[in-house]
């Protein structure tokens, strides 16, 4: 159908002046017809092309190889190919990036007789694509660098983290211990801490705490807390926490308020009776869980002290407890009791801990901590906070763990 628009469009002129290159080849590739647009691009005359050149003669060597290994087989198999990138060789002009599509014309017996090929100028598009490729290569490079940086950072953090925890827990006559530490992310320093150390004679100190926040600022507080508590261990537990309170308040109260919760205790092992006498104080920390060998369990809800480091002076009441052989005392951070057990945001909670601990009554700190770490591992990615556990048990024997 045609419509008069003040200019008579003919099929011939539409073919010759089409805004793309058009050519037809015989089945063996010899060019049998070509339009003026393509001849202009090539800088060649019709006589030099028709019957004399093949389509592949217009391509670069790399393009010829690609034509033979991809384009020609696809055209034979599918009867058409679309959007393949080539470069045209030209007389007196630089190579021209093009996109090529082709269809096969078959005779009545289904034998291919012609290939009709359309060639689009892709100079601008190719420049853009090259830019994209370059950017992708640059992005790949940057990603590789970022991954390397992250892994270096994680290594550094792991070393720092280790420096904030005891390398080993000392062997105490008549006392068995087990500890567990989990950081929520390898990209962050944890804010939980614990330690067990010798004071004098048969006296030992231990503490477990939780600095508010995570990361380097929290780690700095952890470091201060750890060394302050160790240095203050000669005093009684209440005085040790009081010292830590004063140090944190003095250092951080001005601007960036930093505080922590902690349980600090001393223990004395009586080798004659197998009993372990413990005196501890707590500053705003979840109550330790006492697990008797007979299966009874109780949270030691002593009059609780305030958070450590928010007030200039604070009181930290002390509690005394004696472990008989087979009894255990569990210290933990809220990473355990506030772990999400499901996607409904329910906490693991003190009741569940109480129930599980009573099942492990009369076993060993190792068995208890292992059971709890299994519980935590079961929470998988929901375990969003740092967690520290420290269990102490009276063995009734002069050697640890026997």
């Amino acid at each position: 159908m045609t419509e008069r628009v003040g200019w008579e469009e003919t099929a011939e002129e539409a073919y010759d002046s089409a805004p793309c290159g058009l050519l037809s080849t015989s089945a063996n590739g010899t060019i049998v017809k070509v339009n003026q647009t393509l001849l202009d691009w090539l800088g060649l005359s019709g006589e030099a092309v028709v019957g004399r050149l093949r389509f592949t003669d217009l391509l670069t060597v790399g393009g010829k190889l690609y034509h033979e290994t991809h384009f020609a087989p696809l055209l034979r198999m599918q009867g058409e190919v679309s959007g393949v990138a080539f470069e045209l060789k030209r007389e007196h002009a630089p190579r021209m990036p093009v996109l090529v599509s082709a269809v096969v014309r078959y005779d009545d017996h289904g034998n291919p007789v012609l290939h009709r090929i359309t060639i689009f100028d892709a100079q601008i598009r190719r420049a853009y694509e090259e830019e994209l490729l370059r950017e992708r290569q640059a992005a790949d490079l940057a990603r590789g660098q970022a991954e390397a940086d992250r892994s270096r950072l994680q290594d550094a953090l792991a070393v720092l983290q280790q420096s904030l925890l005891p390398a080993t827990i000392p062997v105490m006559p008549g006392v068995a211990t087990a500890a567990y530490y989990h950081t929520a992310s390898p990209d962050e320093l944890g804010g939980d801490f614990y330690d067990v150390f010798h004071i004098d004679g048969h006296r030992w100190g231990f503490f477990l705490g939780d600095v508010c926040g995570k990361g380097p600022a929290a780690a700095a507080v952890t470091s201060v807390a750890r060394y302050t508590l160790r240095a203050a261990a000669m005093h009684n537990p209440a005085a040790a926490l009081g010292t830590l309170n004063a140090v944190l308040y003095e250092r951080f109260a001005g601007g960036d308020l930093r505080y922590c919760t902690a349980v600090f205790g001393t223990l004395w092992s009586d080798l004659a009776t197998g009993r372990v006498a413990i005196r501890f104080a707590s500053g705003g920390h979840p109550p330790p869980l006492l697990i008797r060998a007979d299966g009874s369990c109780e949270y030691l809800l002593s009059p609780d002290g305030t958070l450590i480091g928010i007030l200039p002076t604070s009181q930290f009441p002390q509690t005394d407890v004696t472990l008989d052989p087979g009894d255990m005392l569990l210290l933990y951070t809220d990473g355990l009791t506030e772990a999400r057990v499901n996607d409904q945001r329910d906490f693991y909670g003190p009741e569940a801990l109480h129930k599980l601990a009573s099942q492990y009554a009369g076993t060993s700190p190792d068995a208890l901590v292992e059971a709890l770490s299994d519980v935590l591992a079961g929470f998988g990615p929901r375990l969003a906070d740092d967690t520290a556990l420290l269990a102490l048990g009276a063995t009734g024997l002069p050697h640890n763990g026997l």
Binding site: V61, G62, L65, T69, A72, R76, M77
Partner: protein, 267 residues
């Protein structure tokens, strides 16, 4: 590992007949043999497969170091023959697969009893008096041609091309999928194909060998066909009246006739 799954092995034809293994070259996949298979199925047990990194092979099996030498591809062939327990098979290899077949026949002489080399070239790069047809720069240009056509490839297409058992309808409809490959894998295959020099291996062939060449082939010109024939003892060279590097697609009747004639003579 399931070799038959890894190499997308398809077995068809006459189960009682002699095994004929059809091996595709660089660029596409086993679909290249679609016009050859019908001529062989009445008499022969036909084995088709895709090299790892091509067609619908298992992309997770790709190993750059293994497939950086033709020996790695020959190991694929031997493993496929072992998995099917083939005995005295005829190996038909197109393009680079011709040389892969030569290596495989040496590795597993009990498996491969005859060779058909379609448009073979033991070395694509000119070397002194040897005329391979290309310079190293030409091969670099091919690699950049591949690069510019990678834009037709996207990660979203990958599962479609590599085969999606749960959505088989996707695979068949995708245009150009027979020759689409993960760019990184195609690059390795291209380098291995076009930068290898297997001229010395031709003298090791000890089995009946048919060489098929196109009268006009940019990738494997006539001089190369003559070179291969002279180097393989007792081989037969047939020049097909065809144009291009894929006579099995562009001149299927003549190609099939030459292959079946050779197979009949082997009996």
């Amino acid at each position: 590992m399931d070799i038959l799954r890894r190499n997308n092995v398809v077995v068809t034809g006459n189960p009682e007949g002699r095994a004929v293994v059809l091996a595709h070259g660089f660029g596409c996949d086993q679909n290249m043999w679609r016009l050859t298979v019908p001529a062989l199925v009445p008499e022969y047990r036909v084995v088709l497969f895709d090299y790892v990194g091509s067609g619908r092979s298992d992309p997770s099996a790709f190993d750059e170091s293994r497939y950086s030498s033709l020996g790695g591809y020959a190991d694929d062939v031997v493993e496929v023959c072992d998995a099917l327990d083939l005995d005295d098979a005829v190996f038909v290899g197109h393009s680079v697969s011709a040389m892969i077949g030569v290596l495989a026949a040496r590795k597993a002489p009990e498996r491969i009893g005859a060779l058909v080399l379609v448009a073979p070239s033991p070395c694509y790069i000119d070397d002194g008096a040897y005329h391979g047809g290309f310079s190293v720069d030409d091969i670099d240009e091919l690699l950049s041609s591949l690069e510019s056509n990678y834009l037709g490839w996207s990660a979203a297409m990958a599962p479609v091309i590599m085969g999606t058992p749960d959505r088989p309808e996707l695979g068949e409809e995708l245009t150009n999928s027979f020759c689409a490959t993960d760019p990184a894998m195609a690059r390795v295959f291209a380098r291995t194909t076009f930068l290898s020099d297997s001229r010395a291996d031709l003298a090791t062939v000890r089995v009946p060998t048919l060489i098929l060449e196109s009268a006009e082939d940019v990738i494997a010109p006539r001089q190369v066909g003559a070179y291969v024939q002279a180097a393989v003892d007792g081989s037969t060279l047939v020049t097909l009246d065809s144009t291009g590097h894929c006579p099995h697609l562009s001149a299927p009747e003549a190609t099939n006739e030459a292959i079946t004639e050779f197979l009949v003579k082997l009996r």
